[in-house]
Point group: C2
Chain length 342, copies 2
DNA sequence: GTGAAAGCGCTAACAT
DNA sequence: ATGTTAGCGCTTTCAC
């Protein structure tokens, strides 16, 4: 039998209510008594019973808010499936999850969602941030003034007081891609990089990681110029066509951007889908389709489901059982998919 | 607020106890009343509150038994880490987990563990089975006569009444390896297969999947004879040396067996670690070391952690909240590891 | 500053 | 066959 708060109370010669106040630092306890209680709890290895706590809180349940940006993208829809699963588990256990979806990236809306969720009495908040000082300030305000823990997902917000980040190490993902490219292209060939908006730090990190590592692994391989595309298959197809015209001898392409389908279409059109090795990011339905058709050789995945599930789970475990997250940065596994292990 | 058993009771004009008996089919309720209660519960979308249930059962908590065979192997030690994590979560939630470890494969011991756990009052049992009729009978007995759900992990036991299996599709894992081999060896080369005990169905399935798929993908590649090794690095090193003598022109090796380190040692000794592509199974520390040193090019993983964690989680969710497993076969992802995404 | 007491939703033993 | 009741361990209000 696990140790209960009553046992702590008995050992300390006080009541359960006092133990509770002491352990939660809710004041109205003589400091020396509080100290003694904490020490005893520590010694006896006390951890509050989660079921009992959740049940006792039924009238005013643990509430977790989740804010998703770019919710319209297929990737975030994958994240949303993880969110839904976590929501079900939390609600089954007696908690609540409030979800706010934002189309595109919009710091203004994120901030108003944070305020709204705070006023709705959330006990913890998970969100997809953006590098914006006002969002950072808002997170710090939640942490410091409201004691509301915040978990960031997908992209981190540097220097903020969020308790934990769940997402990918993008530079490393680029290096993994380079490792695969190094393994599968012939000697002295030429490879190209296609990336997206220069202002997107995730894409930049991937591209940087790829180039850096490929130069080390395969000094014989020439990295052709980098092509930039919009998040639009029409554009990506056109740019790819242009690239194939300029570099007909290309043997490999690393795509750090979205709109991979357009690229594949160009490859089919020019009948080079079989001869050029393509490594792209994100395990989305449309990419998997091209993986199966053979235009894409490897897909690098970032566990969208985990990015949706874990932040909520971490917050719930923390709020329900005072168990903090293992690490401050929970980097998702870098998944390699071929047409055989989808 | 979720719907409670009291609300069902009110709606049906009976007491909570009757609702409980009706929903659990524990008899002592007039059949027509039971029917009515079930219908109302269904209509109102009633799901028992997990926290309340676990708490009410605190005196006689939900108990889950876990039997691991070959517990001495590094792979099963990875499984054990998943078991420990699940155990912590379950105990934090108010349940109990009993673990029995068996060295090697021993149906006799498995059976006596099952009996022991049944007599100790387990409410659910997870186990690593073996193709043995007595184990199958024991599982069916638990399911039918004791209403104790059983989950198999790592290897399944065909035709038994286990509610769910968590593990890998080994043939598919072999196919994934073939896909990678096809991607990275040169034209018209020769590759070899090294496998273990002929009586191990997992190894056979992997080998079969590999050969079948490589023939399809790369008809130009010649598959040299299959070498058999014992689970022993001394032996595997010797056999590999012999193989290199017989086939000095080999460019790729698929290892479906354990004792991969010995194979790598032979490759280092003959200075062919860089020129021969090696694909092996299981993300173990010793294999990862050789992946990093470059002797192994790809490791195929089978999510050991999940195989330990999920069976316990499935049983607990089932016992605590009457939520059955999603699918009857939960195939773990086939993980591809290179030295960059370990 | 501290303690007593009333639940949270459910189960199980007991009463009818 | 059905209802009543006493907890499970914790939180929270209220009284001292």
């Amino acid at each position: 039998m696990a140790v209960t708060s009553q046992q702590i109370a008995d050992a300390a010669g006080v009541s359960r209510a006092t133990v509770d106040r002491a352990l939660k630092n809710r004041g109205r306890v003589r400091p020396e008594v509080a100290e003694k209680i904490k020490k005893i709890a520590e010694e006896m290895g006390y951890h509050p019973n989660q079921a009992a706590r959740v049940l006792a809180l039924a009238k005013n349940p643990i509430k977790i808010g989740m804010i998703i940006q770019s919710a319209e993208t297929p990737f975030m829809q994958g994240v949303m499936r993880g969110v839904s699963e976590a929501r079900e588990e939390v609600e089954r256990a007696g908690g609540r999850v409030e979800i706010r979806c934002i189309d595109g990236v919009d710091a203004e809306q994120v901030i108003s969602c944070i305020k709204e969720l705070r006023e709705a009495g959330m006990n913890g908040i998970a969100l997809v941030p953006a590098e914006d000082d006002r969002i950072k300030e808002e997170i710090d305000y939640l942490a410091e003034n409201c004691q509301i823990p915040v978990v960031t997902l997908n992209s981190d917000i540097s220097g903020s007081k969020r308790i934990c980040f769940v997402g990918q190490d993008n530079e490393r993902a680029g290096k993994v891609a380079a490792g695969l490219m190094a393994e599968c292209v012939e000697r002295d060939c030429k490879v190209a990089v296609i990336t997206g908006s220069v202002s997107n730090p995730a894409l930049n990190s991937r591209t940087r990681g790829f180039k850096k590592m490929l130069e080390i692994l395969r000094p014989d391989v020439q990295i052709a110029e980098t092509y930039y595309i919009k998040d639009d298959n029409q554009d990506s197809e056109a740019v790819t066509g242009k690239m194939l015209g300029e570099h007909p001898d290309i043997k490999g392409i690393f795509v750090s951007a979205p709109a991979v389908s357009g690229i594949c279409n160009a490859l089919y059109k020019y009948r080079v889908a079989d001869t050029i090795k393509v490594i792209a990011n994100d395990v989305l339905d449309e990419n998997v389709e091209n993986l199966e058709k053979g235009a894409i050789n490897f897909l690098i995945g970032q566990e969208a489901h985990v990015q949706g599930y874990e932040p909520i789970n971490i917050l719930f475990q923390l709020l329900a059982g005072e168990i903090g997250p293992e690490k401050e940065r929970q980097l998702t596994n870098i998944i390699i998919k071929t047409k055989y292990n989808i």
